[in-house]
Amino acid sequence: MTKSKSHDERILVVDDEPMMSDSLRRHLEDEGYSVDTAANGAEAIDLFDGGAHHLVICDLQLPDMDGLTLLRHMKDAKPNTEVIVVTGYGSVQTAVEATKAGAFYFVEKPFDFEELLPLVEKALERRELMAETESMRRQLSTRAEYFNIIGSSKQMQTIYETIESVAKSDANVLIVGESGTGKELIANAIHYNSLRAKKPFIKVNCAALPKELIESELFGHTKGAFTGAHADKEGLVQHAAGGSLMLDEIAEMPVELQPKLLRVLQERTCRKIGSEKSYPVDFRLITSTNRMPADAIRDGLLRDDLFYRISTITIHVPPLRERMEDIQLLTDHFLKLYAEKYERAIAGVSQSAYQRLFSHPWPGNVRELQNVIERAILLAKSEHIEPVDLPFDNGSAGAAAPTLAWDVPPNMTLEDIEKFVIERTLQRTGGNKQKAANMLGIYRPRLYSKIKKYKIGPEPISAT
């Protein structure tokens, strides 16, 4: 019989049950793949080491070797090769171990070929994507920046590695960390590193949606399902079809809604409010929380069965105070970003200002540092950011007077601050725009456009 399709990919099937490996070989060859089979671990290693296999389908129980050992050998030797693990009896612990060891998917026997084929296709697709990503990544000289996440500390390196291995699978990921640590950036990195990268990435903040609306938003409703349901509405789980769904602040999800989410995750189907019909859903779930999960479970905010389901992989993002070595890198990044944005000629941060940055406990984490640097860029009067430009400056002797002179009233927007800074600078220069432009580190035409934008009056400004 002629093959209807033809692929370049080569697959190795490892199973000690000859009927399993032979029947799988026939199915896969019928789909156009080249297939080798091995009946034990030693034979599998010989074939694998000597061949260029793109995918391995491997039984967990082999006569001469534990399948996990074989999996680890394969991932160590050729990390880009994908492995689908199959087992006659799977426990949650084994599934987690296999995923951690780098398995693409964990399939329990008995299974249908119709279930396996999409996994084979996805695994091979991901392998190709990962090869492309790897090639791009090699061009980066350091690992300090990864999908907009800044940090070269050991903790962040571990997180990058976890993202790489997790993104390869469809495993649910829970990101735990204090506010402002960059949980959303990590979620972005996981989604955009995954095979679902070209599909939607839907983000929902469970704390931001009213309790009464969240079920309808997530799962949709039919017309007339409740007062105000004037038309059918699709849920966000449908919008995320083929992509990823991020549920931010998962511990804030109403506890009575959590079993429904659990059921959706278990059955991969969902029912709209007011409908009897279920529809299939296909999304990868990423959740985040700023609470410690154990505390949330203890306080009755998070059901532990849901926690187990969503936390196949948990990523703990350290607070900034636990990775102080990243402060300089982060500061340089934000400094460049905002100096460009506000067209300020700021060359860097003075040694004494760095000391202040390093001694601050950063309760608001990276977000706080970002805001501090943005503010400092706008307020800095020299080409370096000085302690006086930092909001937590306690007032060193030499800086006391300028601090008072540049005190910023509360509740100001960035534009207000910019206008305020330009007005004060013009006051200091007695209305001399060239001098003011020099002090602000911008060209005079730029200052004119700002004066026009903020409608700063032409009348002489009296010094305060």
Partner: protein, 226 residues
């Protein structure tokens, strides 16, 4: 040989036989998966050749039979292994029981099944449960009781649930159960491997199950209302 010694040896032999049987069943289950993959391969090959519907029907029945056998064997293997419970405190047993109302009304052959009448006392029934496993157990017992009733239109099985002190009492009634359950007896008096697995799940929750001619009863501990 002293009778007590003989009994101990019998018990050890039975355990060995049990282990060996489990291994055989496990291997058979894997072989069945291989056979089913051959059968589905054959079905795929038959379709484009427009083979007679009889050949396709036979392959379909072969696949269904293999599926059924694999399902029974999977249940036996699970029954023989320790259960992995994931307890959730203050899980509502009433919601778990409501899941039986969602069981299909027709069997795989399209025959109408007896309807299910649920009578649940309107009181709090919270407990430290593994929800998905208990849903499986309740569904299995309900399916078992359903199979004891003829499929004539209008026949029903009932499930009554009420609270007695700090436990829930669940009572299934349908047709005559005793003859079915004596055929394959385990310590609970329950029948097929699925029902035995259901009993094991309930017992793992510190509950118990009993069977007699007219009904199956299960008790599950509840969180105190005090």
């Amino acid at each position: 040989m002293h009778p007590a010694t003989a009994k101990v040896m019998d018990s050890a032999a039975a355990e060995e036989v049990g282990h060996a049987t489990l291994q055989i069943v496990h291997d058979l289950k894997n072989q069945l998966n291989g056979l089913k993959l051959y059968a589905t391969f054959l079905r795929k090959r038959l379709e484009p050749q427009n083979k007679s519907s009889e050949e396709q029907e036979i392959v379909g029945k072969l696949i269904a039979g293999l599926d059924n056998a694999a399902r029974e064997m999977s249940a036996l293997v699970r029954f023989a292994r320790p259960l992995e419970l994931r307890h959730s405190p203050r899980t509502d047993l009433r919601k778990i029981i409501m899941s039986v109302a969602e069981l299909p009304n027709r069997d795989s052959g399209g025959l109408e099944l007896p309807s299910i009448a649920l009578h649940i006392e309107d009181v709090a029934m919270l407990g430290d449960f593994d929800g998905p496993l208990l849903v499986e157990a309740f569904n299995a017992i309900t399916a078992e009781v359903r199979s004891s009733v003829s499929t004539k239109s209008g026949n029903t099985v009932s499930l009554h649930v009420h609270r007695e002190a700090d436990q829930a009492v669940c009572r299934w009634q349908g047709g005559k159960l005793k003859s079915r359950y004596q055929a394959i007896n385990n310590s609970n008096g329950c029948g097929t491997i699925h029902t035995a697995l259901a009993a094991k799940i309930i017992e793992a929750h510190a509950g118990r199950v009993q069977c007699n001619e007219n009904e199956i009863r299960a008790w599950l501990p509840l969180t105190s209302t005090n």
